[in-house]
Amino acid sequence: MITYLEAIRLAQQKALATDPRVFLYGQDIGNFGGAFKATKNLAAEFPGRVLDAPLSEDAIVGMAIGAAIEGARPIVEMQFADFSTCGLNQIVNHAGTLFYRTGVPCPIVVRLPSGGTSGGGPFHSQSLEAIYAHWPGLVVVTPATVEDAYTMLLEAVALDDPVVFCEHKFLYYHLKAESLPDTSLPIGKARIARTGRDATVVTHGAMLHESLAAATELAEDGYQLEVVDLRSVKPLDTDTVLASVARTGRLLVVSEEWPWGGVSAEVVSRVTTEGFGLLDAAPMRVNAKDTPVPYHPDLWSVHRPTASTIAAAARRLLDL
């Protein structure tokens, strides 16, 4: 069985093996194999191409950008998504503007181990896809399955544009797949993860699995939720979302991010402006609470959306 984390490792291995322009740069990713072991053995297998960086996120991203200008395809690992804010300037102001300003694309991938886990606390739990998506010039992906973790990372490396790759730590070890696919839906296409006729749940990342569990719970009461996995939040596949809402007439958006201006707000805004007539009820959303992510497990489990809070919101949406 291949875990989500192993899929990320294997994708990097394949990228290194098949594309001589690829190199990896990040803290502790060399012989140590990374804080989560996403680069285990790769330094030995690809000598000189898996480099330990100093504790300098700004420099790490800046160097990746320079290397990309010179034709390389760097994959950068942030130890935690939360620390990417120390490299924020290079990501959003340099990588994100390069093509627009100069016509030269910036093919870097910045891997962000994202999202909450029990005991992670305020600085090892953040979901930052919305802030990166806010800046023009960045592709932002949020794989929610083992297969997507693999194919989307390979696709990200092949893309000429900078990609912020939000991999979810909560899925690292316990999501497993038998084998890895060669092809998949492209970045920018959402996937119907479960079909249903009564309401559409749009979600991404680890919240896909909470949403699917909520759908199972409602199915026991005879209600069918359709669950859409966005896969990439930028580009955002509005067509698939609207088509689903056209079938169900109801929309619930679920996201682990903070509520203000997040992916869920974007989806609700698009559906209400582009598909208002499709809606039989006001759309709803479930987000994390508007506070830093608490470290105590008893607070954390209430801070983030869960299957039961999603199911409760769905019941309200269905007027049950």
């Binding site: 140590f32 996120e57 305020p122 609470k289 105590h296 607070l299 309200r316």
Partner: protein
């Protein structure tokens, strides 16, 4: 500086040693609680760094600012943190100073000058500098602010910008770098290329002090000098101590990347054992006296842990989930 530095006396040394010992015993307890699955979150220990950390905390006074980092359990105790609040935070008691909102090494009480670190390394350097600037603007003098950092932390932009800014304003900031040879798995050879981290002091135009982090006496003398220089208007002081982290990065880490030869070099000594030998050699205390002190420390730690284990966990229903102090500004984002 003008005034001479008071020598480290027997009682200074013994007082500092007892802080180190209490810290060591407390951290041993934290490690065993971690193995028993009782700790909420991770455990990152300062084993081998107690002499330096204690020397930092112990030279600060009430009214000073202290922003400890990952491996400063000892310095925290020296500055006035307690075994009780440490255990409350690690065991996730509702009564801890962080109320379950943040944990372990991130605890602090900013109103008491005890800043609560964020994880982003280097960030506390400018924050302490700013605290000192405000004190100066308020007309206070004789205040010192100290913060600690690892070799890895010196590679951050925040360290560079913070120390430079503090130097420009000649603030009474003491930055204590524990050069413990590794940043997680990364050895110094992949962290910096200068011969000695102390070389950086000249680059920022600040005073530099070298310390042997394995030797309590040297740490006490060096920190006494650095803190006094800052207090007397000498501007920022950079202390660089060499030592070795004697444990993994965190308790989850097997430390397999440790270059075993380092243990045999000067940096590899255990500062607690070095201090114990010194105390006995000086004839200040016998080995039996020290064993008795250890038993007392264990007693305090164990009793406190038993008490804290009976305390309630934070209650999500009672929490006001407020990230803004002004309640009118809190938006109640709901699912509707």
């Amino acid at each position: 500086m003008s005034k001479t530095i008071a020598p480290v006396t027997e009682s200074d040394y013994l007082k500092a040693y007892r802080v180190m010992l209490l810290s060591r015993v407390l951290e041993e307890k934290l490690a065993s609680l971690y193995r028993a699955g009782m700790i909420k979150g991770g455990v990152f220990l300062g084993r081998g760094q107690e002499a330096l950390s204690t020397a930092t905390g112990i030279h600060l006074r009430k009214g000073d600012i202290f922003a400890p980092l990952i491996r400063d359990q000892a310095g925290r105790l020296a500055f006035g943190d307690t075994v009780l609040d440490t255990l409350r935070t690690y065991l996730g008691s509702q009564l801890g100073s962080m109320r379950g909102r943040d944990g372990n090494i991130h605890r602090g009480r900013p109103r008491e000058g005890y800043y609560a670190m964020i994880s982003h390394l280097g960030a506390m350097v400018p924050a302490v500098a700013g605290g000192l600037l405000a004190r100066r603007l308020r007309g206070e003098s004789g205040v010192v602010g100290a913060t600690c950092l690892g070799d890895g932390g010196t590679s951050t932009g925040a360290f560079h910008e913070g120390l430079n800014a503090a130097a420009v304003d000649k603030l009474p900031l003491v930055v204590v770098v524990a050069n413990n040879q590794y940043a997680y798995s990364t050895p110094n050879s992949r962290q910096y290329a200068c011969a000695d981290l102390l070389d950086k002091a000249a680059g920022y135009g600040v005073a530099g002090h070298k310390a042997d982090g394995t030797d309590l006496l040297d740490c006490l003398q060096t920190l006494r000098k650095a803190v006094q220089a800052a207090r007397e208007g000498g501007g920022p002081q950079l202390v660089v101590a060499s030592l070795l982290r004697l444990v993994g990065h965190g308790e989850h880490d097997d430390f397999s990347y440790l270059d075993k030869n380092l243990k045999k070099t000067a940096v590899g000594a255990d500062c607690l054992l070095v201090a114990e030998k010194y105390i006995v050699d000086q004839g200040w205390k016998t080995a039996e006296n020290l064993a008795e002190w250890r038993r007392e420390a264990e007693q305090e730690v164990n009793t406190t842990a038993d008490r804290v284990r009976r305390e309630p966990s934070p209650d999500a229903e009672e929490d006001d989930w407020a990230a803004l102090s002004r309640s009118e500004y809190r938006e109640q984002f709901a699912a509707v």
